[in-house]
């Protein structure tokens, strides 16, 4: 009951955050030089003042700020994020086409980084002077300091130009024909380098934290109790210690969702991955404001959903999370 209630509170709160994003979006659009009328007139090859005024009246741009904001919110509630004059497509449709590719990249990178990070953390916590531990230290330095797009280009040079192991760009090979598994393998092959590039930064972060918390947990009283019970080494480490070291790492991963999406924008640009990042990049060059703002809104949505998922995951790992709040 208490769990359900606190989850509901989180959801209500998430909605408030999204509304705030919309207000920010709209204010920025309002403040920025140039408006829809200018964009349309440009795409028509110029227009005189009368037509400009006509367009402004049609789009309600002559209304007061709050009225415009209200009608913008109303449209968003009906999943209408505006119209992209550059792509000649409604923004929502445009984004929904690109969203799956980004979600695939972001969640694969997050989950793999988390999974491998925890394993590395456990191994290196048990042998603080072992190879794994040194790897974690070096990875932590590299992951923080190397520009992600540069890492991506280096991997591209190494593993698809010099050794032609993986495809250079895109998400699928359109010439390939076959059933589900053929396409699955094709997408997986395209996914490897982008995921490695994006995941390496977060792997560095998670493995370092996992190592630190695991070392602390291994020295704790309850791990001593577990040993005193005569449990096997495996049970002591992977049952008693591991579950306790998970919650700080999961919490960190939850906080990183927005950073993962930021990284994805750059990684998508390097590997021409057909997701939101590439779309954002293209629409910025095209000055396609509705699309850019739509992407900002959707990515905030992804972050919020990611945070909610983190919250749920934490409840599974730590019984204290649900009860205390």
């Amino acid at each position: 009951m208490a769990t359900l209630q606190s989850l509901l509170t989180r959801i209500v709160y998430a909605v408030i955050l999204l509304v705030a994003v919309l207000v920010l979006n709209f204010s920025m659009m309002h403040l920025a030089p140039g408006d829809v009328a200018d964009t349309i007139s440009q795409s028509m090859g110029g227009a005189d003042q009368e037509i400009l005024d006509q367009i402004r009246a049609d789009y309600g741009l002559d209304q007061p700020f709050l009225v415009q904001l209200g009608s913008y919110m109303g449209k968003v509630l009906r999943f209408d994020l505006g119209y992209s004059f550059f792509y000649n497509t409604p923004v929502t449709q445009l984004i929904l086409q690109r969203l799956p590719a980004t979600l695939l990249l972001v969640f694969t990178a997050q989950i793999l980084a988390l999974f491998i990070g925890v394993i590395l953390g456990v191994i290196s916590a048990r042998k603080p002077n072992g190879i794994a531990s040194h790897f974690v230290t070096i990875l932590a330095l590299f992951g923080y300091s190397a520009p992600v797009f540069w890492t991506g280009i280096l991997l591209l040079i190494g593993f698809s130009l010099n050794i032609q192991l993986f495809p250079v760009a895109g998400m699928r090979d359109v010439t390939i024909e076959g059933g589900f598994w053929v396409h699955f393998v094709d997408i997986a092959r395209h996914l490897v380098l982008p995921v490695v590039t994006l995941g390496s930064i977060f792997l560095a972060l998670y493995s370092r934290l996992a190592r630190a918390t695991m070392m602390e947990v291994l020295g704790s009283d309850y791990v001593r109790t577990a040993k005193a019970k005569g449990l096997s080494e495996r049970e002591v480490v992977y049952k008693h210690a591991l579950k306790n070291s998970l919650s700080p790492v999961i919490t960190l991963a939850g906080l990183q969702f927005s950073a993962v999406i930021s990284g994805a924008v750059l990684v998508e640009a390097v590997f021409s991955w057909p997701g939101l990042g590439t779309l954002a990049f293209q629409s910025i060059i095209a000055r396609d404001t509705p699309t850019i703002l739509g992407i900002l809104f959707f990515s905030a949505l992804v972050v919020i959903i990611g945070n909610l998922l983190t919250d749920i995951a934490l409840r599974f790992v730590d019984p204290r999370v649900g009860g205390k709040r």
């Binding site: 704790s220 009283d221 309850y222 001593r224 005569g230 449990l231 008693h240 730590d318 019984p319 009860g323």
Partner: protein
């Protein structure tokens, strides 16, 4: 006399420190019979807990090791036994409860699971049988409403209840020896008495031998038949509890006893003046020197005490005291 259940001979445990190796246990010998209870007494830093961890094979990895001596349990030599065998003994034939009930239970598993787990590991019980057994054990350690509380998490319990759960875990497999390392130090006084009562009753029921580690002479009088007074990693004095309290042969024991008001009162209705032992336990790096380590705090100190480590003087009924002046006390 038949072989004792546990026999420790000339045990030496060394800790590697930054500035060298220190013998935290230095030439310790004692015996424990089946169903007997024995107490280790001394201030903190005297090596009481290290003895317990040494017997359990749980000395801190890479830091502590058994340098020499033997620990014979039920005819089996624990210092040379395999890790696998040691795990089979731990929690099954010898088990241990710790000082900090607040942190000794795993916060992310239910108490039922933490009890049932030992039963599954050592007794090969099925999941449901172990769970039912856990409920019975919770009931046995007098946690009310055991059937419901078995699926509680540690954070939903008080310190006293958590220590009861620890006792339930320790006694789950009906071990031959229970080591209790300051089991009540972190608890309220009233709860302390309840825990002692519980331990005494369970001991009567199961016939488990108890090694009780404490710095509280009152607890010793209540719980044990024999006692070992430790000072700076060495045996200062050992023997039957009443006899030692009646007539301590080591100035340190004497000091410890006079720190406590009520044991004297209950034992022979006399009241001594309450004192304290001046000074502190010497730092680890001074352990192992060939002299009496208590000399700096002793009011009977002589040149001999500073020159040579005192041998054990033997008195009647197994009372032994490592003091040059033991006969004169």
């Amino acid at each position: 006399m038949s072989e004792p259940l546990l026999k420790v001979q000339n045990l030496r445990i060394e800790l590697s420190l930054r500035d060298g190796i220190a013998p935290v246990i230095d030439d310790l010998s004692f015996e424990l019979g089946a169903g007997e209870s024995i107490s280790f007494v001394g201030e903190s830093g005297c090596g009481k807990s290290m003895t317990a961890l040494g017997i359990m094979g749980l000395l801190p990895e890479k830091v502590g090791r058994i340098a020499s001596g033997t620990i014979t349990f039920d005819g089996e030599e624990l210092t040379t036994v395999t890790q696998k065998r040691l795990r089979a003994i731990r929690g099954n034939e010898i088990s241990m409860i710790f000082q900090e009930p607040m942190t000794s239970l795993n916060p992310v598993y239910t108490v039922g699971e933490q009890i049932a787990e030992v039963l599954r590991a050592h007794q090969g019980l099925s999941k449901s049988a172990a769970w039912n057994c856990a409920i019975e054990l919770l009931d046995a350690v007098r946690i009310p409403n055991a059937r419901r509380r078995v699926s509680d998490y540690p954070f939903q319990m008080s310190g006293g209840q958590r220590q009861r759960v620890m006792i339930a875990i320790a006694l789950a497999c009906e071990p031959k020896i229970l080591i209790a390392d300051e089991p009540t130090t972190a608890l309220d006084v009233t709860v302390q008495a309840e825990i002692f009562d519980l331990l005494n009753e369970l001991k009567r029921q199961t016939g488990t031998a108890i090694i009780m580690i404490t710095h509280d002479m009152g607890a010793v009088a209540e719980m044990a038949e024999r006692m070992i007074v430790m000072y700076a990693g060495r045996n200062a004095e050992q023997g039957p509890v009443e006899q030692i309290i009646d007539h301590p042969r080591h100035p340190y024991t004497k000091g410890l006893i006079s720190c406590v008001p009520h044991i004297m009162a209950t034992l022979n209705d006399e009241r001594y003046e309450l004192t304290e032992i001046a000074g502190i336990v010497p730092p680890l790096r001074e352990f192992g020197q060939d002299r009496c380590l208590f000399a700096s705090r002793c009011n009977m100190v002589s040149q001999k005490c500073l020159d040579k480590r005192p041998p054990e003087a033997i008195f009647g009924d197994g009372q032994r005291a490592a003091c040059w002046h033991a006969g004169a006390i």
